[in-house]
């Protein structure tokens, strides 16, 4: 016999007495764990999207949707390639890099891939020198980012995955995504046949988890020539030095290119960012509800348990139980229901997050141990605080209740 057995025997005998408040804690923790998990993974997803897009500003054909851009399905709508030079010549403040793209469907090893034509940065430098523009030197006012300004382009081809631009790419070369490399078993130095032309594989990109994995990148002019597209592109990605600069660039670019649609990436993901912000606030709200409703429910359950067991508490005191032992006994009851509620809630919350996360927010949710521990901790702190007063009042009960007749 010890305090734990004493408490456990009672709870095992009559679990229904604690059912409501356990359920309250459980539902609160479920909501908290589910919302936080979806939010965290959704935020990560947005972050990843932002990073994988790299560009802060997109120049798209007027009638193209953002969905088209994401799915690399831009084959039908185009912009003239001359827009690239226009942007370059304007020497707009805050522009760091420009990357025009032309996407077409192609087949490699009988599988659909997206052939993406890109312009290597070395050609901008050549163009800039030829047109005597100092390339990307126009720093925008109050730029806080030290890296803003001219760049040296000496990166390995693999950085295309993260930087969105490539330094050198010859007309007969290609860079392939991880998925393409996998299913076609192509390696660096081998050749890949596209539209009847053999291109040499310059690099295989590391896996990014985005549409880039199933892309084949080749020189823009090669893609234009192979598909008879003419001097056109589907999108121009503009990397500005920071979000501030991006905001300022949009009206300038819109003015410069009236036939194009100019959007910032933060606009692209703004609905998702908005939802995430809402969910963050929601989880605070749920925490508040958990604290108030869960706390009140625990407090009322424990106080009615104290009232119900007055005679038993009196008897225990007559037998020599100290007031502090009585307090601990009732706190232990509160913890028992708190732990069951918190652990059960974490499990349910995770299930809800995994199911709803993929259905509603389109994110894959994995358990976050820190977050779960924090939720359980919060639930236990709430139950303890809520049970403290009733548990103390139990310790102050008159031991003479033991003589009360039933």
């Amino acid at each position: 016999m010890n305090l734990k057995t004493l408490v456990w025997r009672e709870l095992a005998e009559r679990p229904s007495a604690m059912f409501t408040s356990t359920l309250t804690i459980l539902l609160g923790v479920t909501a908290l764990v589910a919302i936080r998990h979806v939010t965290v993974f959704s935020e990560r997803e947005v972050g990843q999207q932002l990073q994988s897009l790299g560009a802060n500003v997109l120049v798209l054909p007027k009638d193209a949707t953002l969905q088209d851009y994401y799915s690399a399905d831009l084959t039908a709508r185009t912009l003239p390639e001359s827009h690239v030079s226009s942007i370059l010549l304007e020497n707009l403040a805050g522009v760091e890099r420009i990357s025009p793209k032309l996407c077409v469907s192609a087949k490699v090893a009988n599988r659909d891939v997206t052939l993406t034509g890109i312009l290597p940065q070395s050609e901008f430098q050549a163009k800039a020198a030829w047109q005597s523009v100092s390339l990307f030197s126009n720093k925008h006012d109050g730029c806080k980012k030290a890296a803003c300004g001219p760049k040296t382009y000496d990166a390995a081809p693999e950085t295309l995955a993260s930087q969105r631009t490539i330094d050198q790419l010859k007309g007969n070369e290609a860079v392939i995504g991880a998925d393409v490399a996998e299913f076609s078993a192509l390696r660096i130095g081998q050749t890949v046949e596209l539209f009847g032309e053999k291109l040499k594989v310059l690099a295989v990109l590391p896996r990014t988890g985005t549409v880039d994995d199933s892309r084949v990148f080749a020189h823009l002019h090669t893609v234009q020539r192979l598909t008879n597209a003419g001097e056109v592109v589907n999108a121009i990605e503009v990397m500005s030095c920071c979000e501030d600069a991006a905001g300022g660039l949009v009206p300038r670019l819109a003015e410069l290119l009236p036939d194009a649609k100019v959007v910032t990436i933060s606009q692209v993901v703004s609905t998702q960012v908005g939802i995430n912000r809402l969910m963050s606030q929601m989880s605070l709200f749920v925490l508040g509800i958990l604290a108030i409703v869960g706390g009140a429910s625990v407090a009322s359950t424990i106080s009615s348990n104290v009232r119900e067991r007055r005679r038993e508490v009196g008897t225990l005191m007559a037998l020599g139980a100290t007031p502090s032992l009585v307090t601990r006994m009732f706190l232990l009851k509160a913890w028992a229901l708190g732990i069951v509620g918190a652990v059960g809630g974490s499990v349910f919350g995770l299930i809800v997050a995994v199911v709803l996360g993929s259905q509603w927010a389109g994110v894959t949710v994995k358990p976050l141990p820190d977050l779960i521990a924090l939720s359980i901790g919060a639930a236990l702190v709430i139950t303890t605080l809520a049970a403290l007063w009733p548990a103390r009042s139990a310790a102050k009960l008159d031991p003479c209740y033991c003589f009360q007749e039933v």
Partner: protein, 230 residues
């Protein structure tokens, strides 16, 4: 064992004052078997609670084995109870969700005895009260007489010198009553002191001394010779 000096205990409820107990002096010696009798509401339970260190008088002192009980801090008073006093109740006050064995273990656990000691001693005590074959039964699975015997085993767990009993036979059939009373006789023979509140003339007659209470006042303490000489 006890010296009570100028004790008063008054309950106040809605401007009404009830003198629950009042005594200028009362001594109870070691090894005495005292029966407290009197009508309902006369203050018997109040007196018993004060003797048990559970109810502080409004004035006066309760000396228990040379210590002023209500001048001790609450934890020490609790400790005196745990180590020296055993309680017996009219309705047994067993913990309903614990087995007979576990009920007897409670005071041992409160004293800090280890698991093995708790089990062995509780089982031996239940054997002693004739319930060796009922140790795994819950109170609801036992007759009232058996329940009171479990309560007696629990009372004996920490080997108390003083037994405070409130109507211990009030809810029992004649056979069970006799069993309890003969155990009480044994406890007295073992040298324990018993203070027993009772309505039952048969039980009161077994005591070596009777205190009659009326409206909280002791009426000429009447000492009768112990009919059941040891």
């Amino acid at each position: 064992m006890f010296q009570l000096q100028d004790i008063t205990k008054v309950y106040r409820k809605r401007q009404q004052e009830v003198v629950a107990f009042k005594a200028t002096s009362l001594d109870i010696g070691f090894g005495e078997y005292v029966a407290i009798v009197g009508p309902s509401g006369s203050g018997k339970t109040t007196l018993l609670s004060m003797l048990g260190g559970m109810l502080s008088p409004d004035s006066g002192n309760v000396w228990f084995e040379g210590e002023s009980l209500y001048d001790l801090p609450i934890n020490e008073r609790t400790q005196r109870r745990r180590e020296r006093i055993g309680f017996v109740f009219q309705t047994f006050n067993l913990v309903p969700y614990l087995t007979a064995l576990e009920n007897v273990q409670v005071p041992l656990f409160l004293r800090g005895a280890n698991k093995a000691e708790q089990r062995d001693r509780a089982a031996a005590l239940l054997e002693q009260v004739g319930l060796g074959n009922r140790i795994e039964h819950k109170p609801s699975e036992l007759s009232t007489g058996q329940q009171q015997r479990v309560a007696l085993a629990r009372m004996l767990a920490n080997n108390p010198r003083l037994i405070l009993a409130d109507e211990p036979t009030g809810n029992l059939d004649p056979d069970s009553r006799e069993a309890v009373l003969s155990m009480f006789d044994n406890f007295v023979r073992e040298g324990r002191t018993i203070v027993m509140v009772t309505h039952d003339p048969v039980a009161a007659a077994r005591a070596s001394r009777r205190l009659r209470l009326n409206d909280g006042m002791l009426i000429t303490p009447e000492t009768i010779p112990n009919t059941k000489a040891a």
